[in-house]
């Protein structure tokens, strides 16, 4: 009788928690990138744009044992989208966190990003590197030109 009660309790617990597929919206972004910003910013007007690029990075867990050595990250999802769209900037981006679990036995978690990938144009007129403005807001501290 006791094993039956234990089994019933386990089933009740599983039924309570359920197999949950959760998509948590993290919002809509005008622009996201993992690539270093060009010194003159991203020249978006007239740039090549690949629409509706989607990238998903997931990690699976079997009996709480992960199948990857590191968790999937937002930066990884953005980088994958940029790679797929062959660009350097994501615009009109939707970011979602994904989670699915069969409690105790299996789980998967990750990130999904969807948006347009823009390949910002190189500076017109020359192949020489563009001069870095003295007060470039995207430049790293300590990397200002002499």
């Amino acid at each position: 009788m006791r094993p039956l009660r234990t089994l019933a309790a386990a089933v009740a617990l599983l039924a309570t928690t359920g197999c949950a597929m959760q998509t948590v919206p993290h919002g809509r972004f005008a622009a996201l990138t993992t690539r270093p910003a060009p010194s003159l910013g991203f020249q978006v007007d007239g740039a090549t744009r690949t629409r509706d690029v989607e990238a998903v990075v997931l990690s699976q867990h079997f009996l709480w044992v992960p199948t990857r050595t590191h968790p999937p990250t937002l930066a990884e999802a953005v980088e994958l989208a940029l790679y797929r769209g062959n660009g350097d900037l994501l615009v009109d981006v939707e970011v979602d966190r994904l989670f699915f679990a069969v409690p105790l036995f299996y789980a998967q978690e990750g990130w999904r990003v969807r948006g347009d990938v823009v390949r910002s144009r190189p500076r017109e007129g020359s192949a020489a590197p563009a001069p870095v403005p003295a007060d470039d807001p995207f430049a790293s501290p300590g990397t200002a030109p002499p």
Binding site: L40, L74, D136
Partner: protein, 130 residues
């Protein structure tokens, strides 16, 4: 304690050890990576079009969004959002775009689960330029 039977004493010790481990183990911080540009609102990213000398930059600004995600292992359906964390940082200094935003998630559990999404980076106000 000395009056307890040895079997019960051993069981109590085991429960105490498990409780101590449960207190010590949960909680993790995950680095979600570095985003050189994160903008929640439409903003001019072509710096040729703006006078960057007029832009105001606040370095090392932190924004976060924290939610209780579970109570006694039951999910609350709440989750922190990246958009809220970035907006928190932007609103703090009246900026338009975050540059070099380091994103990380901080989770811990003890009877309740709490999740925080944190961004730390530079807040740039490009709208102030002439």
């Amino acid at each position: 304690m000395s009056t307890l039977p040895p079997v019960l004493r051993a069981r109590l010790a085991a429960v105490a050890a498990i409780a101590a481990a449960a207190l010590a183990l949960p909680g993790c911080v995950t680095d979600q990576g570095l985003l050189p540009v994160a903008a929640t609102r439409p903003v001019e990213l072509d710096l040729r079009e703006v006078d960057v000398r007029g832009a105001s930059i606040h370095r090392g600004v932190k924004g976060s969004d924290t939610r209780v995600t579970s109570v006694l292992f039951l999910p609350t359906g709440e989750s922190p959002r990246l958009e809220n964390a970035v907006e928190d940082a932007l609103l703090d200094h009246g900026g338009d775009v975050m540059a070099r935003a380091r994103v990380r998630t901080i989770d811990w559990w003890f009877l309740i689960g709490v999740s925080t999404l944190e961004v730390r980076g530079d807040v740039v106000d490009l709208l102030e330029v002439e």
